[in-house]
Amino acid sequence: MTLDIASPERTAIAPDAAHALYREMLRIRRCEEQLVRSYAQGLIPGACHTYIGEEAVATGVCAHLRPDDTVLSTHRGHGHALAKGVPAREVIAELFGRATGCSQGRGGSMHLFKPEVGMLGTSGIVGPSILMATGAGYSFKLTRTDRVSVVFFGDGAVNNGAFHEGINMAAIWNLPVIFVCENNMYATEVAFASVARNTNVAERGYVYGLPGIAVDGNDVAAVYTAAGEAVRRARAGEGPTLLECRTYRTRAHSEGMRDVGYRTKEEVDEWKRRDPIESYRTRLIADELATDDDLRGIEDEIAAVIAEALDFATHSPWPDAATATAHVYSTT
């Protein structure tokens, strides 16, 4: 089964759920904007890969997950960590290198871990997360639970062998895994169209014998609807799903990097006009799911959350240097 992107059915989303989607996208956006400012101020010593423009994907998928479900993700994983339940204060503190960060200062932008909420790690290597998520699905099936495993990866991962090997294993063993491809058209700065003859990722599902569904990744309602069905299938023991979300990164691959020579300003501007948060805001009001006051209330709430998160990170202690070699092994 391969559905076309053209006409995603609009499923009725209750006002509370719709507000939650808006709130979560905004929390990711405002957290990212804060990280951009902090990076410019020299407060982030390493990389900073923002998720700005892609918020609808993590939000729409993770809205269906329980804390005991798991997520594995990419080098562009702040949004996934936040949507899976990592507090913004722990993400900012992690990028600042503080002991209170979600990885206790061991990870930074590319290695966000918080197993307590099912965040099993973002990754600096493209591909492996697909395999590890397949393994989480194997555990959940073997231990007779209804937990589900989600992995986010970019278009850059789908021509990597891990995609082939992982999806094939999930399909043959009918594992509860949702493979979410965030097709943002560029693997760092290499255009997907230049490395794939067929740029329809969802179609690849058919090849491995699992459903492949493509949705507008800038439409949170479309992602939410498609992911809801994928999660339901996985929980019910009906197997894995490949979900392609077509979206766009509107900032540079990494903060501070030169962002020219591989895409045009016109293309970036066009996608900025399709901003997932702005467009959802307009739609919520048009569909009478929220009033402008409702949404301003949410915006104020998120501004306070991010201000508190920044204050928390800024005043957090550095890790104790004596712990630099701790946790290499489970026992000493």
């Binding site: 061991r106 790690g121 555990s139 090997e165 043959i172 489970s330 026992t331």
Partner: protein
């Protein structure tokens, strides 16, 4: 005490653990109904079925990555590579993920994964089925590396490996698989990091790894007739490495030879020699010596293959020479 082969002893250890813990599962090529190319899982499929004895596609990278994710989420995979050479397709997963996840998660995720495979030169297995590779893993933080040489050790160390929350390489030299030895009926475990003195002696200490243990013992027996007293130490695990047993031995003998079928550069002999110098320089009456495979990929034809590897004669000569230094 009953006698059993190395393979049967290891399989008994696996079977005992699988009976106790339903989260243990084995993956590999032909380890299901067939029972494994080296009989590592013979008879277990009938008891536990395909979910726990999982035949895989030929996708080492894939199933190693998959088992890494499984180990992070509450199950205890045993990856059976058949020939360890096949692990090389999965090095990226092993080194970047399997070995590092515990550290990256600040100990909140565990990595209880056993990675077993047959190693070693012999039987014209040729270039792609004769590798040793253990120094690669001993070099890196995160791995345990276990190389048992007797049926007793194979069973006790495999049980410890499966119960460990760390990734453990469990490496079985092909020439040892059918060797027999005493294995008690009652349950036992062998801790990592405890070498075993296989023969006591006073003139020269020999640390031997994998199949070289038996060859060193044979050489020691031969040299006893010449009045040379050789102590033979089997480290059993090279990560962690029990350096104390080696230091105590050299304190007595003043001379150390490391015999290892793997290559010399950056190998286990280099590591032991360095630690010996750092921690026991004053005990040495002669330079530490190494014997290793010749520095070449492993060839097929017997005269070529034999030429690569230390044997009882060459080991005995090296010991004589070292004693004379």
């Amino acid at each position: 005490m009953r006698e059993m082969t190395y393979t049967n002893a290891a399989r008994e250890g696996l079977a005992e653990e699988m009976a106790l813990d339903p989260t243990i599962f084995v993956v590999g090529e032909g380890i299901g109904e067939r029972g494994g190319n080296f009989n590592t899982t013979l008879g277990l499929y009938e008891q536990y079925g395909p979910e726990r004895l999982r035949d895989t596609p030929i996708a080492e990278r894939g199933f190693v990555g998959m088992c890494t994710g499984a180990a992070m989420t509450g199950t205890r995979p045993v990856v059976d590579f058949m020939f360890l050479d096949f692990i090389l397709d999965a090095l990226g997963e092993l080194i970047n993920q399997t070995a590092k996840i515990q550290y990256m998660s600040s100990g909140r995720l565990k990595m209880p994964i056993t990675l077993r495979g047959c190693i070693g030169i012999g039987g014209s297995a040729a270039t792609h089925h004769s590798g040793n590779y253990y120094p690669i893993f001993a070099h890196l933080p995160g791995f345990r590396v276990v190389i048992p040489t007797t049926p007793y050790d194979a069973k006790g160390l495999l049980k410890t490996a499966i119960r460990s929350d760390d990734p453990v390489l469990f490496l079985e030299h092909k020439s040892l698989l059918n060797t027999k030895g005493a294995v008690p009926e009652e349950e036992y475990f062998i801790p990592f990091g405890e070498a075993r003195v296989r023969r006591t002696g006073s003139d020269v200490s020999v640390v031997a790894v994998a199949s070289m243990v038996n060859k060193a013992l044979e050489a020691a027996e031969k040299l006893a007739d010449e009045g040379i007293s050789v102590e033979v130490i089997d480290p059993r695990t090279i990560a962690p490495l029990d350096m104390n047993t080696i230091l105590e031995s050299v304190h007595k003998t003043g001379r150390l030879l490391v015999v290892d079928e793997d290559y010399a550069p950056c190998g286990i002999g280099a590591e032991i020699a360095t630690q010996m110098m750092e921690q026991g320089f004053d005990d040495l009456d002669a330079p530490v010596r190494r014997m290793n495979a010749a520095f070449a990929p492993v060839p097929y034809s017997q005269p070529l293959e034999t030429a690569l590897v230390p044997n009882v004669e060459t080991i005995a000569t090296a010991i004589r020479n070292l004693r004379a230094e």
